[in-house]
């Protein structure tokens, strides 16, 4: 299968990313770049949500900056961020040895399975806004959750043709575990012996403070409600024109507006459900339109 990785035992955040990219590239994955819009998780990337549908095989891996406005803590909480990174690998159709390949990635980043206790604990995944669900596990290393593993069954409310195996590493959490840090902000971003050694806090602490203030205090809610409505309308219009990719970007936009409004606390519990359903309807329509293009191409 694969050559032993050239980059065993990362010592800092960026080496962790490089090692995972290197490993999954050796597994035949495309190494993609992050999607250039605000989104809540790597799953929203078209490389996962849309590519999980349709009859074509697809192996890809990428880092996705993920924004969860309500998780902001002004940089005061050592374990919570409103902006963090996920590393995502998606293998469609899931190969029979996908778990072994995943375990190989752990070896690559320096988790020695002769020393540690790796466990697969039932954890089914569901994204109400994407109308998606799958079965899988949280992966525990010595009691700490280091990855999520999901076999997609439905996306956009549609049964998948080929099942994708999706592996998500929460990079900060994994790095805290690997590098034994109690605070995200103390993580070494690059190598300690670099010319300019920097921590995660050096790079992102100010961002957490300012963005938390924006998310909780300053975001213009009237504007966001407007943006949500505009994105929703635009998405519908683009679906009619059979342009699923630009339509889906509007769905992502609406979803992020909703997350910001939610963080500002201006959406009541009852309204909340209806907003989630509205985003889900957009996602569903985009997925359906995308599937039409995929089936056409395959035919």
């Amino acid at each position: 299968m694969s050559e032993p990785s050239a980059r065993l035992n990362p010592t800092c955040f960026q080496e962790l990313i490089l090692t995972l990219q290197d490993y999954w590239a050796r597994q035949g994955c495309l190494i993609l770049q992050p999607f250039d819009m605000e989104m809540g998780a790597g799953t929203f990337h078209t490389a996962t949500t849309l590519r999980a549908l349709g009859p074509k095989a697809w192996y890809a891996a990428y880092v996705q900056p993920s924004r969860r406005p309500a998780d902001g803590r002004y940089g005061d909480n050592p374990m919570r961020l409103q902006h963090y990174y996920q590393f995502q690998a998606i293998l469609k159709p899931s190969p029979p040895d996908i778990l072994e390949r995943y375990l190989g990635s752990l070896e690559a980043i320096g988790i020695d399975t002769t020393l540690h206790d790796i466990r697969f604990v039932e954890d089914d995944w569901e994204s109400p806004t994407l109308g998606a669900w799958g079965l899988g596990w949280e992966v525990w290393c010595d009691g700490s959750e280091i990855s999520q593993f999901t076999y997609f069954q439905q996306v956009g409310g549609i049964d998948v043709d080929l099942v994708s195996g999706e592996i998500t590493y929460g990079l900060e959490r994994l790095a805290m575990y690997l590098f034994d840090k109690k605070s995200i902000f103390d993580l070494p971003f690059n190598r300690a012996d670099s010319e300019v050694p920097l921590t995660y806090g050096d790079v992102f602490l100010q961002n957490e403070r300012e963005q938390s203030a924006y998310n909780f205090e300053h975001a213009d809610t009237d504007m966001l409600f407007r943006h949500f409505a505009d994105a929703e309308k635009e998405c519908g219009r683009l679906i009619e024109r059979r342009l699923p990719l630009p339509a889906y970007e509007q769905c992502i936009k609406a979803s992020h507006c909703f997350n910001l409004l939610d963080a500002r606390g201006v959406i009541s519990v009852t309204e909340r459900q209806s907003y989630i359903l509205r985003v889900r309807d957009l996602a569903k329509a985009c997925c359906e339109a995308w599937l039409v293009t995929q089936k056409k191409e395959a035919a």
Binding site: S94, P95, P96, D117, I118, F120, D142, S144, Y177
Partner: protein, 683 residues
């Protein structure tokens, strides 16, 4: 006689599904074997986190030919019925069936000759059918396939009499079939390569060598024994926990219990918080000191024999626990800075139910109920009860309960104690969700009783008012549990509570009655006695109701009770039979008989006994001395027996006398029915 060994290896099976799946596999294969006429001696099934295994002993290696007859539809039946019959019997047309007259008309019959032959030929079909029928709570597709299983299926061992059965399972799509074989894999990390096995004994032995303990019972035993040994060495006591043991045994194939230590800085956080973190989130066993207090050691069960003896694993787990508890300690410190009272406004933002308002609205209702209820609970200070009700939901807005919802109530109690509120109030806040089930502790302190009752009464009456009543298996707001909770609190604390003062919906009272019946039946009370007492209607005091049930049951167990019941039955039967013939009779025989019309001493004796009894029974019932009332009835038995021996009731030539005697019998019935409806008692 031969052995069948089946193993289904897959990716990790959720712990909670394993035991049931093993049972289902055994049942389904067993049924398949029986349907094929294959008797066997014994079948045993096992599950680990990666495999289901089944061994069937004592199967014949071959079966004889058998012929089986099946009756089909009537000759001339609609085409659909005929097609169904052909499909079910495997015939291609009716030409292959026979017409036979059964005496009830002409029917089609199929005579199906079942070829016997080697058992090995029948088994693959049986295995395949069992796998298709196995009801996983949740199952999935994988790869390009269409087959569903709990997680991707990897290999199958199917050995009969030491030989691999010819068969396979096709996942579908572009995936290769999974052929029946004789090989499996051992522990994910402690074993490499395929393992070939010859039969069950060999399988178990080779798995053990490959660090897989097949039998869940053995894994549990090892976990418990090793954990207790570790605890003994550390001079702490393991808190046994069957649910956790079951789960942990399902998460590992080779259990390795290890002892970890809780960082000292967290030991001042409430024990419940530490326990939730460890038990629920980390699946650790907690330990206690000699005085019962939580000890600073925990047991984690690893699935690996690490080459450093588990040091890294323990370090890692201690680290995770540290960060979880740091969170908990942070909340504990933060939460104590805010008084419960100050959290109340935020309850206005918490929707309880779209049509029942917010938690603040709910608290307002609970307060009113607490005030009203306090009058019925001896020793309850109503001001304290109202304050406890006022604060009982405040902890829902604390950071700790936000993070650990299962600590609701428990944290409210701690925060109330921190504020130096009276212990009775703090305890009432802590207890007000109890009892959460039949085995949960039931509140007994007066203020706790009031608030716990108010919480449940509010839930029941509120959901009732908006028509959200439990139906069949659907009870999303756990109203059955609420009603059972009220029953337990009232009965166990002997609280005289007229429920009708708190609601007037008849069907809610009936809902209580049903819960009470179920509960009493479980305690071995005769259901007909329960029915007889309930049939009186109008009773809303559960304590009085139960006292009556007990008295009637006790009386019926005596010789006098049994005889009187027979007499009652005779009296009631005669009256009922006459009432049937004459619809106007019922109204004419109501009321007391006329003594001056009585001719025989036996009827006079009954009348006078009845008068005596009524003099005794009425006040006894008023005193709620149900046993006393029942004893009074014992005196009725002699006169009634003589009456039936000597007196003819239906004297056709004297209509007035007949009517008067029927009145007398009716009065026997009426007097006894004032205690319970004896017509519902089964002799």
């Amino acid at each position: 006689m031969a052995e069948l060994l089946l193993e289904l290896l897959s990716e990790e099976i959720p712990a909670r599904m394993q035991a049931r799946a093993a049972d289902d596999l055994k049942r389904l294969v067993g049924e398949g074997l029986k349907a094929a006429g294959l008797e066997f001696k014994d079948a045993r099934a096992f599950a680990t986190s990666r495999r289901l295994a089944l061994v069937v002993d004592g199967l014949p290696t071959a079966r004889a030919d058998v012929s089986e007859e099946r009756r089909g539809p009537r000759v001339g039946a609609p085409e659909q019925a005929v097609q169904g019959f052909l499909k079910a019997t495997g015939l291609s047309s009716l030409d292959q069936a026979e017409k036979r007259d059964t005496g009830k008309g002409e029917f089609w019959f199929a005579v199906i000759a079942k070829k016997g032959g080697p058992t090995a030929e029948a088994l693959p079909g049986i295995i395949d059918a069992a796998m298709k029928a196995l009801p996983w709570p949740k199952s999935m597709k994988w790869g390009s396939g269409t087959m569903t299983w709990v997680r991707p299926l990897q290999s199958i061992i199917a050995l009969f009499d030491g030989k691999v059965l010819a068969g396979e399972v096709a996942p579908g799509g572009a995936m290769a079939p999974i052929r029946f074989g004789d090989a499996t894999r051992g522990h994910r990390f402690l074993s490499r390569g395929a393992i070939k096995v010859a039969g069950f004994e060999d399988y178990v032995a080779k798995l053990r060598a490959a660090h897989v303990m097949l039998d869940p019972a053995e894994r549990k035993k090892i976990v418990l024994a090793e954990a207790e040994k570790l605890c003994a060495e550390a001079q702490v006591a393991l808190k046994t926990d069957d649910g956790l043991l079951e789960e942990v045994a399902g998460l590992v194939e080779w259990p390795v219990p290890l002892l970890g230590t809780i960082d000292a800085q967290f030991m001042d956080v409430p024990a419940e918080v530490l326990t939730v973190s460890m038990r629920t989130h980390q699946r650790y066993f907690v330990t206690s000191k000699k005085d019962g207090a939580l000890a600073n050691r925990f047991v984690v069960v690893a699935n690996n024999v690490a080459r450093d003896g588990g040091k890294t694993i323990v370090d890692g787990n201690e680290r995770v626990l540290r960060s979880r508890l740091a969170d908990a300690k942070f909340f504990w410190n933060q939460d104590r800075k805010v008084r419960l009272e100050e959290r109340l406004p935020a309850l206005k933002d918490m929707v309880f139910h779209a049509r029942l308002g917010t938690q603040a609205d709910r608290v307002a209702r609970i307060e009113i109920l607490a005030d009203k209820l306090a009058a019925y609970v001896p020793g309850a200070d109503s001001a304290q009860a109202i304050l406890a009700a006022h604060l009982c939901k405040a902890d829902l807005r604390s950071g700790m309960v936000g993070e650990f919802p299962e600590l609701q109530g428990v944290m409210g109690r701690y925060y109330a104690l921190e504020e130096k509120l009276p212990a009775a109030i703090a305890d009432a806040i802590g207890d007000h969700y109890a009892p959460a089930g039949p085995n949960d502790r039931c509140p007994s302190a007066p203020v706790s009783v009031v608030v716990a009752l108010a919480d449940k009464l509010d839930a029941l009456t509120s959901f009732w008012a908006i028509g959200e009543k439990p139906t069949g298996s659907r009870d999303p707001y756990a109203l059955r549990r609420a009603a059972l909770g009220i029953i337990r609190i009232v009965v166990e604390n002997d609280i005289r509570l007229p429920l009708k003062k708190f609601f007037d919906a008849d069907d809610l009272m009936a809902f209580f009655a049903d819960r009470l019946k179920v509960q009493m039946r479980e305690k071995g009370v005769r259901h007909d006695v329960v029915d007889a007492v309930f049939a009186l209607g109008g009773e809303d005091d559960l304590v009085r109701l139960l006292a009556r049930v007990e008295a009637v049951q006790a009386f019926l167990a005596t010789e006098a009770g049994k005889n009187l019941l027979t007499a009652y039955g005779r009296a009631a039967n005669i009256v009922r039979a006459e009432e049937k013939k004459d619809k106007t009779l019922a109204s004419r025989i109501a009321g007391a008989p006329d003594v001056t019309l009585m001719e025989q001493t036996e009827e006079k004796a009954v009348a006078s006994a009845l008068a005596d009894i009524e003099r005794l029974v009425k006040p006894a019932l008023q005193r709620e001395d149900f046993a006393g009332a029942m004893r009074a009835f014992a005196d009725l038995r002699g006169p009634i027996d003589s009456f039936f021996e000597k007196v003819t009731v239906n004297v056709a030539e004297k209509p007035d006398l007949r009517l008067n005697r029927l009145k007398l019998l009716n009065q026997i019935r009426a007097t006894m029915d004032s205690v319970a409806d004896f017509s519902r008692i089964e002799g």
